[in-house]
Symmetry: C2
Subunit: 225 residues, 2 copies
Amino acid sequence: MMKPAIVLLSGGLDSATCLALARSQGFAAYCLSFNYGQRHNAELKAAARVAQALGASEHRVVDLGLAQFGGSALTDAAIAVPTGGVQPGIPVTYVPARNTIMLSLALAWAEVLKSSDIFVGVNAVDYSGYPDCRPEYIAAFETMANLATKAGVEGHRLHIHAPLIALSKAEIIRTGAALGVDYGLTVSCYQADDEGRACGVCDACRLRAEGFAAAGLSDPTPYRT
Amino acid sequence: MMKPAIVLLSGGLDSATCLALARSQGFAAYCLSFNYGQRHNAELKAAARVAQALGASEHRVVDLGLAQFGGSALTDAAIAVPTGGVQPGIPVTYVPARNTIMLSLALAWAEVLKSSDIFVGVNAVDYSGYPDCRPEYIAAFETMANLATKAGVEGHRLHIHAPLIALSKAEIIRTGAALGVDYGLTVSCYQADDEGRACGVCDACRLRAEGFAAAGLSDPTPYRT
């Protein structure tokens, strides 16, 4: 029987690659997505397509009232998504504590499924300045998670897998392409329309396009014109 | 101006005392409660009463779909709440990763409010075997939180205050009574009815009754007969 793993799946390029890696390592994938009032809701449709295409055992979407806290261009309509190019520092698209909240809910599901493995597609190289995409953050979360749960008390260790953390966007794309990921199913744009068509000018679109160019592969992203 | 602090407020005895302590230390209290499919929904009404009585600046309730993961007598109607007395080990009333999820959402709100202080009423002495009530867990969460957020990047430290962690239930009750907490507003029972009347036989009821007895104070809890 395959070991179960929780895979955080946003519907973007990174998490799709992360899911493909978990499957290639022999895990039965229990995919978890969040409806947190993000502007780019087309991602959730993409997550469902990706989960099915990559043979996930289950895909759940948890509603999460992050928008009521505001503080991010992704959840607060009053803050515009920047389109002028990637800037240094923490961008306004940063969602406060997002990865911590999502990993915490993955931890709950892992504990119920008696799974010791959580996969998250964070990436420190092209991470656009998000503090919760750094390796030291992932390590600290793993330490905390092992103290938080029955796993820690009962002596088996829980692992947070972040297999993309040191890869460039181009390396992620090449990895996924080699594993047969259809990136045409994914949506990266921070302000995709309902059909998942990308704007081409937000940071996520720019990093994705540069990644495909650097990988020497053609980008199947549909753009609005 | 008073410094803002996030206070996790369940509506039970411990979190009410924790809120009173935060207020007594001069913090403006932003109270956070969760509707996570818990059986004892009377707690949420109690939380609103307690927040008002203790002068909270704001009280928010976040809906959280924990029940879909199951795995706890508090969120899964198929698992009975034990009433035979407190047993050693992790009880079935343990909700997987609950404190981690709640602290993570508190962290999000703290970051938006630019608050460096989160109060949580966990208690390691009478903690009934919950792994996420231990001091080493709280310390690990604080370390992780400082790496997860802008706070860590920008160099000011975020503190997780767990002022009850080493107190007995009797000491908690004496502390709160000295600060003027009206414990008649709180609900501890795992299966309180809609009017907040307690069953008297679940672990939470037993620990509460023992605490009042040990403190030499009368317990204002209304019981079903």
